[in-house]
Symmetry: C2
Subunit: 224 residues, 2 copies
């Protein structure tokens, strides 16, 4: 029996998908919002976590990092005693003592795909795949096998080629939240001029017409 935790923010949709998956004789499926996912994972010790990467919560404080148990300095995790890792199922079938991650992503948005990769997801499935493919993917990652949906291939290429540096992403994230140049400068301990230089580089690298356009393009790609 494969214990599956399905994480998606929309109750109506995750309930329907969990119901469909739960009809498979070898799957035992529970669904949760991102908000409750980490707590449920600790309680249920699932073998596989199927996660919607497009939710803004996936990158948040209760998001993927906590769920995957990679929050500790020791990326490997098993046996280091830090809460999440222990709780996330030492008996898990996939990947070294913790639940295997299967990321649901959109082909046109490389940002979430990259975040899933950074959190060592074992499976990657397009949200436009069929439920049967999802079942297939769950069985693969439960055995510790990598599973990659061909529809996401190009997205991976884009995800590998993120044009922005980490510092530029920090500047852009703040700008996208509506912070002014002065506020960004104070927040990141930079001068106003340096922030303006970063914004100019961001605009150029994303091929944007201006700052607002750069934010729009980066949002669309899921970088911020």
């Amino acid at each position: 029996m494969i214990r599956v935790l399905l994480v998606h923010d929309t109750y109506l949709l995750r309930t329907a998908l969990a119901f469909l998956l739960g009809r498979e004789p070898d799957l035992e499926v529970t669904s949760a919002s991102w908000q409750r996912a980490a707590d449920l994972a600790r309680a249920l010790r699932p073998h596989v976590c199927v996660v919607d990467m497009d939710s803004p919560e996936a990158g948040g404080p209760r998001g993927l990092r906590e769920l995957s148990g990679n929050g500790s300095e020791n990326g490997n995790g098993s046996g280091n005693g830090s809460g999440n890792v222990d709780a996330l199922g030492e008996a898990a079938a996939g990947g070294g003592g913790r639940a295997a991650l299967l990321a649901l992503a959109s082909a046109g948005r490389p940002g979430p795909l990259r975040r899933a990769y950074e959190e060592k997801a074992l499976g990657y499935l397009s949200k436009n795949a069929s439920p049967d493919r999802l079942v297939e993917g769950i069985r693969h990652v439960a055995k510790g096998e990598r599973f990659i949906d061909e529809a996401l291939g190009f997205g991976f290429l884009e995800a590998a080629e993120i044009p922005l540096t980490r510092r530029e992403l920090s500047v852009l994230s703040l700008a996208a939240e509506g912070a002014s140049v002065g506020e960004i400068a104070r927040s990141l301990h930079l001068s106003n001029g340096t922030v303006r230089n970063y914004m100019a580089a961001i605009t150029r690298k994303t091929g944007a017409r201006n700052r607002v356009d750069a934010i729009r393009i980066s949002r669309g790609a899921g970088w911020v």
Copy 2:
């Protein structure tokens, strides 16, 4: 038998939800992306269209307006001979010769809720409702009865209180796409100064810190 067309952009999720709904003995459910929805509606003549309002496509050229058959000048529609209206099921159980709309919306986003209202949706359900409530809603609107999810109550209040005028929304939409003041001015046949005045009014009315913040706030609410 109630024929239902379920419109959602994510194949994985709409398939699962259609499967769950299709288990009800009185529902015959087909699902489609927004892209294909209007064509399918013409072919299937559903009694009820369940539509995901959060998709950017819902407001687009192949979106709600075409689906609901309200695209003609004559809002009433029946018998005026213009393509969509005729095709969308004269024999429909709900609302005067066309499919009844049941809108799936998010409580925190008044914009999509308002668009559904403007297109005369008969039902409104939160995406955090249970599948059982959706079934209930479908049966209500199929009989031509209004169905409103209590969870959307506050959203309706906000939807009624949109602070921006139609002209301000046009300016904001272009700005959100990255257009400069000059480009917006040329596109809407206004002077640069007038566009700046509109942007200032938008920023003030949305309680934003600046133009980027105004775009962020309006996007979050689903106004643009």
